[in-house]
């Protein structure tokens, strides 16, 4: 159990973007409405060179959110001690504003599959995920935030709803939550539930950061829509509407635009951030 206030504080209630090296000069010279940056932890675990040098420069100008994509918090096996040590080292020298990871697994039996794989929502999973979060928070010496996944299917063995599952993990571990509104929309479409109701059930008091991103559209075997989280396109209008609904309930939060594949030119990404700023300005803090 990590002793921290329920709502993770630190990032400004402003738009941020996932950092891409091709935007380095734009961010230094003309950051516009961008109030903070997020990096993927695993891309900054080399010994030196340009990535580390750029990160040092950026961290002098922007609050940095470190977002892990490889710890496999939901893994059946124990957490990789070498990877825990790398995270501790990165958080130690960079001293980022916040750290977050995913409700997912990616490593099993020594193989890292480079994807965020799904978990059954059971008591056993709650225990395992909570133990792993305890271990991480004790290792890096700070609170983390846990992000809700994009779901394409459901486990028959699940007995908990996702919001209840996340609330329980947050209560047991003292971790905060990272609410990905696009993931909510994707999962709700794929699993046929009401995304607004999901947001209303979600423990928003624990949320210290919101994610927005684009998705791809496909169909399942029965011709039903199958949305796929891609981070490779603009945020769609229904997701912006869901953000408005979220902010009306939560008040101001830091909002990240994620665009990781087919990365656009800076003005296009910045326009997404401006739209997030507009959404913030519509609600009272």
């Amino acid at each position: 159990m990590y002793d921290a206030p329920p709502t993770p504080k630190g990032l400004p209630n402003l738009p941020g973007v996932g950092y891409k090296p091709q935007h380095y000069s734009d961010l230094i010279e003309n950051p516009g409405t961008i109030g903070w940056l997020e990096i993927h932890a695993e891309n900054y675990m080399g010994d030196g060179g340009r990535p580390i040098a750029q990160l040092r420069q950026l961290s002098e100008r922007f609050p940095i959110s470190v977002h892990g994509v490889g710890l496999s918090i939901g893994g059946e096996g124990r957490l990789d001690p070498e990877h825990l040590a790398r995270l501790k080292h990165l958080v130690g020298w960079l001293n980022p504003t916040v750290f977050s990871e995913h409700l997912a697994w990616s490593t099993h039996d020594g193989a890292f599959l480079n994807d965020l794989l799904p978990l059954p929502y059971t008591e056993a999973t709650i225990t395992r995920v909570s133990d792993h979060i305890d271990e991480l928070q004790n290792t890096i010496g700070r609170q983390m935030m846990l992000e809700n996944p994009s779901s394409y299917l459901a486990f028959d063995e699940s007995t908990w709803s996702e919001p209840d599952f996340l609330r329980e993990v947050a209560k047991r571990t003292g971790c905060g939550l990272l609410l990905d509104v696009n993931n909510v929309f994707v999962s709700a479409t794929n699993l046929n539930y009401d995304p607004q109701k999901y947001i209303e059930d979600y423990p928003l008091d624990y949320v210290g950061e919101i994610h927005l991103g684009g998705h791809d559209e496909d169909e399942d075997d029965h011709g039903k829509p199958l949305l796929i989280d891609s981070h490779g396109a603009a945020v769609v209008d229904p997701v912006w509407a869901l953000l408005d609904h979220t902010l009306s309930l939560s008040g101001h939060r830091p909002i990240l635009i994620e665009w990781d594949t087919d990365v656009p030119e800076w003005p296009i990404l910045h326009a997404e951030a401006e739209r997030a700023q507009k959404a913030l300005s519509k609600v009272t803090a």
């Binding site: 030196g48 990789d80 697994w105 099993h108 039996d109 059954p120 459901a154 794929n190 029965h222 039903k224």
Partner: protein, 254 residues
Amino acid sequence: MTVTQTTFRSAILDGQQDRPLGLSDAEGRPAGRRFDVYRNNVAVSLTDALATGFPTIAKLIGEENFNAVAGIFLRQSPPASPLMMHYGAGFPDFLRDFEPLAHLGYLGDVADLELALRRSYHAADAPPIAADALASVPPEHLGEVTFTFAPAVSLLSSPWPLHAIWAFNMQNGPKPEAVAQDVIILRPEFDPEPHALPPGGLACLQSLMAGNPLGIAAARASEADKAFDLSAILTLLLPDNALTSITISQPSEV
């Protein structure tokens, strides 16, 4: 019905296997194509990582062949760590042993070169010696000088025109001629650059990197190749931040 991660992992990496039972859509029907999203994400993301890490190989065999070869490699050698910057360390040997591409005997060496470039890119930074550091050594002590090399520097030995194959594909260089080329990778600031080594260069640099003084390294290089020219090596090393310290070793008591 519990779906273990062993079952899940195995069905992701082997598309011929049945999809795991116990995974459904919202109406309780088997997940079907929904499971294939994960199969596809894993295969595409790892193939992309290999294509990013080995662009010359992709160019040499074409995108379609590369994707097919990567698809085989990633299933037998998925990443052992979440650091994708290190993924593909086994790819050069995989290519050397891959029968359908045996006629392209140089692929393994080219993949080694690309791996070395990537390692250099992420290697630790180290302040270089002053530009005039060697010039300030009294000429009679030059043979006793030893160097420390920057972590970003590495050597490759090849019976193929390794540098020329890389330059032809990646830098619009001239058509490679059938000569063996050893290569040194240097990183002047942040971007690693491969350079073809002059005759005897590999023997000289291997000796220097092992900690031998310049006089001994030069002698080894002359034995390896009579055309060895020390000034050509120093010209290569000095401007590109390859050296991080210079020491005059104690003359041996002979």
